[in-house]
């Protein structure tokens, strides 16, 4: 082997050992550096996309937009009424809890965000949303849609108002879950290599004699420190009994192929 090749090989192996021994914090710093370096390009790309979308919106038929606007105004009025009623109930509930010496926090703040990018990596089930550090978002926060739990915040992009959401359909996103109408509690997660339109989730570590029926609803337990309790996760699809424990397949309540607006829970009941 030529001396230059040998030197290059030794330097390369040294570099590999250095990279393998980087701490989690150092890896985060490397990722922050990487995403801040590409952020100017992402910002320009996002601006171009917004301009293109605006152009397409403007060219839509004005009558169609007018009808849509009317419907939205009606819906907004209805929601205003519901919201004011909800606020009244929240205040009343707070007062009653206080009277009963409840120490529980009734605050439930969410930040709305739009999904701006789907599946940016090959193997992990993630989406990027247009809300980040400046919106008060941090890592390990629950992300919901109006149908149920979507996932959790995995990464905040440094220098940009964006973050990455690890979806419930990913194997790494584990949620402590309970089955409605039973005492069964287990850990819900996605399945490896299943990323088609409606992938089923795995509910593991149920008791060996779990008496569950298809259609029973599954909710978060609130244990584990990440997800608030009673968030809908899905419904039981089938149950497979084992010698030591049982496992159920759960159909998610969220349609992951049609995600657009999500809500990040920045403070809630725990």
């Amino acid at each position: 082997m030529k001396p230059l090749n040998l030197t290059a090989l030794l330097l390369f192996l040294g570099g590999v050992v250095w990279a393998f021994t980087l701490s989690d914090r150092a890896v985060r710093e490397v990722q922050d550096f990487y995403f801040s370096a590409v952020s100017p390009f992402l910002k320009s790309g996002s601006q171009m996309e917004t301009r293109a979308r605006n152009f397409l919106t403007e060219t839509r038929h004005s009558k169609e937009v007018e009808v849509e606007l009317g419907a939205i105004r009606t819906e907004l009025g209805r929601l205003h009424i519901i919201e004011s009623r909800y606020r009244d109930l929240e205040i009343e509930n707070g007062r009653l809890r206080h009277a009963l010496n409840y120490k529980k926090n009734t605050h439930f703040d969410v930040v709305p965000a739009q999904v701006i990018r789907r599946q940016p990596t090959t193997w992990w089930q993630t989406v990027d949303i247009d809300a980040g550090q400046s919106s008060g978002i941090g890592t390990q926060l629950a992300v919901l849609s109006n149908e149920g739990l979507v996932g959790k915040i995995d990464r905040i992009y440094g220098g940009q108002n964006r973050s990455s959401v690890l979806l419930l359909t990913d194997e790494k996103c584990q949620v402590s879950a309970r089955v409605e109408g039973s005492t069964e509690v287990g850990i819900l997660s996605g399945q490896r290599g299943r990323f088609d339109g409606s992938p089923l989730l795995r509910l593991r570590f149920l008791s060996a004699d779990a008496k569950l029926q298809p259609g029973q609803r599954v909710f978060t337990t609130g244990r584990g420190g990440i997800f608030q309790p009673n968030i809908p996760l899905g419904t039981i699809d089938s149950v497979k009994k084992g010698a030591l424990d049982s496992e159920a397949l759960v159909r998610p309540s969220v349609n992951f192929s049609d995600l657009s607006t999500v809500f990040v829970v920045i403070a809630g009941d725990s």
């Binding site: 990279a19 550096f33 990487y34 590409v38 090959t122 995995d154 399945q191 290599g193």
Partner: protein, 208 residues
């Protein structure tokens, strides 16, 4: 006055540097390449393609340097965070891949590409283009095998296999463009990345 050997070295360094910049630029373009949902979530792995095409045009030291930079930033691009949550509740946490594994996979695929460097030097770049598709498939298969090894339970669905296949095919289709780009860069640097082909052409010309 510089000798011809020193001039050649400078040209090679200039070409290697521009190749490195091209690899870094591919990271930016990669951000805008979405997954094709209709094709089993397959995608164009531009970074890997640029690396594989460049690997066949450079010497081993430069290939290792490109593998290190490419693998290092690829892991920064793809890495996911720690599990989080209470370990008493989540007792069986799912492992992530160790940061830096891509450097070794990039280098392995780079060495595979350099295996047919003699053919490329003779001007037969088409073989390298086909091999880039094979190398991407092997890369994805190795990556998936590592995930299975780290997490346990070997699971290989038809969808995963099709995803790897379509990703390799789609990415390979772009290899002629990357080779064209590398030939243009080499020409601008006055560097020949397939010198044997040039000599053969000159020899054939003299015989005529």
């Amino acid at each position: 006055m510089l000798s011809s050997l020193e001039i050649h070295k400078l040209i090679v360094i200039r070409y290697s540097f521009i190749t490195l910049l091209l690899l870094l630029a591919s990271f930016v373009v990669q951000q805008f390449l979405p997954a094709f949902t209709g094709f089993y979530q397959s995608r164009i792995l531009l970074v890997l393609l640029v690396f594989l095409c460049a690997a066949v045009t450079v010497g081993q030291p430069t290939m290792l340097m490109l593998a290190f930079v490419g693998g290092f930033f690829w892991d920064a691009h793809c890495g996911i965070g720690p599990h989080g949550g209470d370990p008493e509740v989540y007792t069986q946490q799912v492992e992530s891949l160790r940061f830096g594994y891509s450097i070794l996979l990039f280098a392995a695929m780079g060495l595979l590409m350099q295996g047919i460097q003699p053919l490329f030097r003779r001007g037969k770049w088409q073989f390298s283009a086909y091999l880039s598709g094979v190398a991407i498939f092997l890369y994805l298969a190795a990556e998936y095998a590592i995930i299975n090894f780290v997490r346990g339970d070997f699971v290989l669905s038809k969808a995963t296999l099709m995803q790897m296949l379509f990703t390799s095919l789609l990415t390979m289709l772009f290899s002629p463009f990357i080779f064209w780009l590398l030939f243009r860069i080499a020409k601008l640097c006055q560097h020949s990345i397939n010198p044997d082909a040039g000599r053969r052409r000159q020899h054939a010309h003299r015989n005529q």
